[in-house]
């Protein structure tokens, strides 16, 4: 039960959504954009947030779009993770979002919600970080489209009143060899201890991580080290640990030491696949 009252509205256009948001904020109400609600509901139930208004984005057609347009695949911000996985439009994306929560929750959690939420893993971003993806943001000043990497730095850096209208993934990346590996501390369906997504582009490994640190990231320096065949696998793994952007996370779900162990094991597996693939022509 959520003990506080809040206003709820479900606009049909992006403009209306922004207008509603702005109007609520102007009236002094703490306002949130609302996707699947899994995070807002659970946090409001325990009292860690007390929104006074929510603007539901799921009725906006553009936010629910899933189609090819030119050289891009467009995914609406209010698409459910399950819809993305089932569409098979981008297999790596399907794998990554298909391992977030359980099936019931995947039917509720939205792409935008996963990217913008406060839960630190945001695993939907991993494929996007590897693929020069772009994002269209709707805000009070209209729509801006820009590379995701420009607005994602561990978390989405949105301007006040902005929300994710669509994500644009270049189609060519959907054809490349990929790998997704996720390990949780005790069971299959859980927050990741370490989650990684990788693709091979022109023989080079591109890789992004969640869980190992307190935010998801892709590191060009780490990729360079991992692709440096002058080093043997052990050296590359040790280098990768050195190049983590911060110490591995250490919390009630999983300790730092065990995360590091899994990180090295999983990365070792990726490098083994990579070298096996380069010998056998990048096929599993």
């Amino acid at each position: 039960m959520i003990p506080v009252n809040f206003a709820y509205c479900r606009p049909c256009t992006p403009e209306e959504a922004v207008q509603s948001y702005t109007a609520y904020e102007k009236a002094g109400k703490k306002t949130l954009y609302y996707g699947g609600g899994s995070e807002i509901i659970s946090m409001a139930r325990v009292g860690s947030i007390t929104p006074e208004a929510v603007v539901d984005l799921k009725e906006i057609p553009a936010c629910c779009e899933l189609k090819e347009e030119g050289s891009y695949i467009n995914m609406g911000g209010a698409l459910s993770l399950r819809a993305i996985a089932d569409s098979q439009c981008f297999p790596l994306m399907g794998k990554a979002v298909g391992r977030i929560a359980d099936h019931t929750n995947q039917c509720r959690i939205t792409l935008g919600g996963n990217l913008c939420g406060t839960i630190i893993y945001r695993e939907a971003v991993l494929p996007l970080l590897l693929t020069e993806s772009e994002v269209s943001l709707q805000g009070p000043e209209g729509v801006r489209r820009l590379p995701l990497q420009k607005v994602f730095d561990g978390r989405m850096r949105l301007l006040p009143g902005e929300f994710i209208l669509k994500v644009h993934v270049p189609k060519k990346y959907a054809q490349m060899p990929y790998l997704h590996v996720k390990k949780a501390p005790t069971e299959k369906i859980d927050y990741p201890a370490v989650s990684l997504a990788a693709i091979i582009e022109k023989g080079k490994l591109k890789i992004a991580f969640a869980g190992i640190c307190s935010y998801p990231f892709r590191s060009k320096e780490m990729e360079a080290a991992l692709n440096d065949t002058a080093m043997d696998i052990t050296q590359r793994l040790n280098k990768a640990v050195e190049l983590l952007p911060e110490k591995p996370a250490d919390d009630v779900h999983c300790s730092r030491g065990y995360r590091e162990l899994l990180f090295k094991n999983m990365l070792g597996q990726v490098l083994a696949e990579l070298s096996a693939g380069s010998k056998a022509g990048a096929k599993s």
Binding site: L179, K183, T186
Partner: protein, 817 residues
């Protein structure tokens, strides 16, 4: 006998439950009810300096805000040590501090959160070892002043010891002299949760003439009545406790807590109906949990493996209040050696207060914890002896003629047949292939086993009763004080009644709900004693009915009462079975063809009470705590990834001596359920508490507290041995809880074998295993610094089903289909 014993009779409430029609306490309409919500302590140990209700009372719709000062009454089932709401001091994080009553749940929740409490934090103790330190803060300053409800517990004032049960037998010096091999090891199990699907809840109202009505999710309606009467000095006859279906109890709903809160809430609002709502977090942190246990085990044996001596010390982490804890300590003492003959024995079992959530009974009454320690120790002994662990258990298994720790002489009736269980397990598990088997470069399969025994530890005079009435169609209504919470025990009772009366099972209707004004007294639905103690009452009620039918039948049929037979819902004279009276024509009294009234309506009545039990001798522990033991042998098979210690439980086995398999499917269901709980508890469940700061529980939700899920369970393989318990109805032994008991130990034994590291702590999460292995110097394989970071073969990665890990090679890309 009617032949319903041994059949897979469907449980009586099956349709109600599978269609969702079954009603649980909070399923009834809430119209006309106020709602009460709790404010709980954020601190493990603190003085309450002040409580300000002003802000809470100003919230619209709030009717009352209650604190410990308003009701300083204490409660407790053995030792009266627990306030309803914390008064002046909080002793665990999660302890109820204030209760807000309002017109709806939202207002009550807001009001509870608005109560302003100032605390002064006190140092806290979180393990028995910390609590026993001579400089440890006292959890209860007034321990010596509390009222005792039973005579056989002995809290030690000015300490954190709530009870001590010693067991002394034989001659220790001789035992150690005869031992060629000894092992000594410490063990640790953290507290964890019952995690019943139905969260604890209760409703209360008080009529203008003082009648108190409680509806509650409880295993112990008669205990609720007693404790409310004792706590508030109300005549017990003025209290009526109603229990509909209970959505899982596992011992966690035997304590009386939510009922006391609901009662004071109603009392503060002029007796109006109040519904107490606790959420999952409160159910985990405020309501009682499963107890933790620490132990030190020392065993000595001859070189052939025969046990010669055991020196055992157990410290039960009872949390902040005793509840039934001291009797769990007594149960540990009584069964301390596990099901083995040990002639020279020195055991001390203690209950210890800590600043954890208070603990209570949880499926098997601490036997799963006791068994973990003993069965790990047996495994270590087998290793040291270089002996097959199954053989070690077989040669030491207790058999008729030998004596238990508390000097009860064993017989087939009271002990069952453990060697037969072990032998059957040996076949079932294909035990000759129990040695670890390499599957791939990084994965190993291994099997581990454990034996168990358990006797109930009820009060020596625990009562039960049954009333059987008839309907005009000749069918029966069985009415006991047993709560239906999933164990199918009511259906088993119905099966016994049907068989005894020679009617078919569908002729017995069961009164599922308990109402203490209507149902005969039953101690509590706990300890797997229903089939025994309520079964005895049902058998006596059936005898009562048969006697009445014989009397009326003899008059109606014109024969001697002893010639009257009752079978297939008919009454007839043995010498002339062609002339019979159908039940429907006789159970309401008989009328002959001339209109003469013969006999009277039949009403069956039976009561029972434990007999021949005794308290334990305070010096030697000699005494009999329960009527009989149930024994069994269990095993678990795992496949483990040695690179990261993740594992997959691939098989679980159980062979139990149940006396008489009266309903094979439902009894197998109980055992499988127990095994699942054991696997879940051992593989991942634990309450952990912040060691610094406030000392709060760090896993108070199902996001952080993990339990086994559908799809993670292994294949279960079961079999049964049937050695009748002569004083039990149909020879059936207690068995509802027992599936859990040996599983944690068997899992630990399997994992220890798989990677050659001794795992003596729970839980057995991959991370815990890694830490233990690393500390033991066996972590090199796991990619530690300098190790070859072994590239995993694809097969190994995809087989790591315990955790995640599909990742079998790079996939091909694709486009929109």
């Amino acid at each position: 006998m009617g032949g319903t014993i041994g059949l897979n009779v469907k449980r009586k409430e099956a349709w109600a439950k599978v269609t969702g029609q079954a009603k649980y306490t909070d399923d009834f309409p809430t119209v006309g009810h106020y709602t009460a919500r709790l404010l709980v302590s954020p601190y493990a140990h603190a003085k309450i300096i002040s409580i300000d209700k002003t802000k809470a009372l100003s919230i619209k719709g709030v009717k009352a805000v209650i604190t410990g000062e308003d009701y300083p009454n204490l409660s407790g089932t053995l030792l009266v040590d627990r306030p309803i709401l914390a008064n002046k001091i909080v002793r665990y994080a999660g302890e109820p501090v204030a209760l807000a009553v309002a017109v709806d749940e939202a207002a009550a929740a807001l009001a509870a959160a608005a109560v302003e409490v100032k605390y002064e934090v006190l140092p806290a103790v979180f393990t028995p070892q910390e609590a026993l330190n001579s400089t440890a803060p006292l959890v209860h300053e007034e321990l010596g002043a509390y009222v005792h409800m039973v005579e056989d517990i002995n809290p030690k004032p000015r300490s954190n010891i709530s009870c001590h049960f010693p067991v002394r037998k034989g001659n220790m010096a001789e035992g150690w002299r005869n031992s060629r091999v000894t092992i000594e090891q410490e063990f640790f199990l953290p507290p964890s949760d019952h995690l019943a699907m139905e969260i604890r809840t209760a409703r209360a109202e008080i009529s203008k003439d003082g009648m108190v009505t409680i509806t509650t999710s409880s295993q112990a309606p008669f205990e609720v009545k007693k404790q409310i009467a004792d706590c508030f000095q109300i005549p017990a006859g003025n209290i009526r406790v109603h229990v509909p279906f209970v959505g899982g109890g596992f011992g966690g709903k035997a304590p009386v807590m939510q009922e006391l809160l609901a009662y004071i809430a109603s009392r503060e609002v002029d007796g109006n109906p109040v519904r107490l709502v606790m959420d999952r977090k409160e159910d985990m942190t405020a309501a009682p949990s499963r107890a933790g246990l620490s132990a030190r085990i020392k065993l000595g044996a001859t070189k052939e493996g025969l046990l010669q001596a055991a020196e055992l010390t157990f410290w039960l982490d009872n949390g902040a209040y005793t509840d039934i804890g001291p009797y769990m300590v007594k149960a540990i003492a009584s069964d301390c050696t596990g099901p083995y003959r040990v002639d020279n024995l020195h055991c001390d079992a203690y209950g210890v207060y800590t600043n954890h959530t208070y603990a209570t009974s949880c499926r098997s009454f601490a036997h799963e914890s006791l068994t973990f320690c003993i069965e790990r120790a047996m495994e270590l002994l087998a290793e040291k002896l270089a002996m097959d662990p199954l053989q070690l258990r077989l040669v030491n298994a207790i058999t008729p003629g030998q004596y238990t720790p508390t000097q009860v002489q064993g017989s087939f009736s009271n002990l069952g047949n453990l060697p037969a269980c072990i032998s059957r397990l040996q076949e079932l598990t294909n035990w000759q292939e129990s040695q670890p088997m390499q599957i791939t470069a990084d994965t190993v399969r291994a099997k581990g086993m454990a034996c168990f025994w358990k006797a109930a530890t009820p009060p020596t005079n625990a009562p039960s009763g049954a009333v059987v009435t008839f309907n005009s169609d000749g069918s029966l209504n069985l009415n006991t004080g047993v709560v239906e919470m999933g164990s199918a025990s009511q259906s088993h009772l119905a099966q016994m009644l049907a068989d005894k009366l020679g009617v078919s099972d569908d002729q017995v209707h069961v009164v599922m709900e308990v109402d203490t004004q209507l149902n005969p007294v039953h101690y509590k639905t706990v300890a797997s004693i229903t089939s025994y103690i309520a079964g005895r009452a049902v058998m006596r009620a059936a005898e009562d009915i048969l006697e009445q039918l014989r009397k009326i039948g003899s008059e109606a049929l014109g024969c001697f009462p002893e010639d009257v037979e009752v079978k297939q819902s008919r009454v007839f004279a043995r010498q002339n079975p062609d002339i019979y009276i159908d039940f429907q024509d006789i159970v309401m009294g008989y009328k002959d063809i001339f209109g003469n009234s013969i006999g009277e309506p039949v009403l069956g009545r039976g009561t029972s009470m434990f007999k021949g039990l005794s308290n334990l001798d305070p010096k030697t522990g000699k005494g009999r705590t329960g009527p009989a033991w149930t024994v069994g042998a269990q095993a678990v098979e795992v496949e483990m990834d040695l690179k990261d210690y993740t594992y997959h439980i691939i098989g679980a086995y159980s062979v139990m001596d149940v006396g008489n398999l009266i309903n094979p499917e439902s009894m197998a269901g109980s055992v499988r359920g127990g095994m699942a709980m054991g696997l879940s508890m051992a593989s991942r469940e634990s309450f952990s508490y912040a060691k610094q700061g406030r000392g709060e529980m760090t896993t108070p939700s199902l996001r952080s507290y993990k339990a086994i899920h559908v799809g993670e369970e292994p294949v279960y393989q079961l079999d049964f041995v049937e050695t009748p318990q002569l004083d039990a109805p149909y020879g059936m032994r207690s068995m509802s809880e027992h599936g859990i008991i040996g599983i944690p130990a068997a899992l630990a034994n399997a994992l220890s074998k798989a990677c050659g590291v001794a795992f003596n702590h729970l839980p057995l999460k991959p991370e815990d295993l890694w830490r233990t292995a690393t500390a033991a110097g066996a972590g090199a394989k796991a990619g530690g610094s300098g190790a070859e970071a072994a590239p995993a073969p694809a097969a190994a990665a995809s087989s790591a089903a315990f955790t995640a890990g599909p990742g079998a090679g790079f996939g091909e890309g694709g486009g929109i289909q």
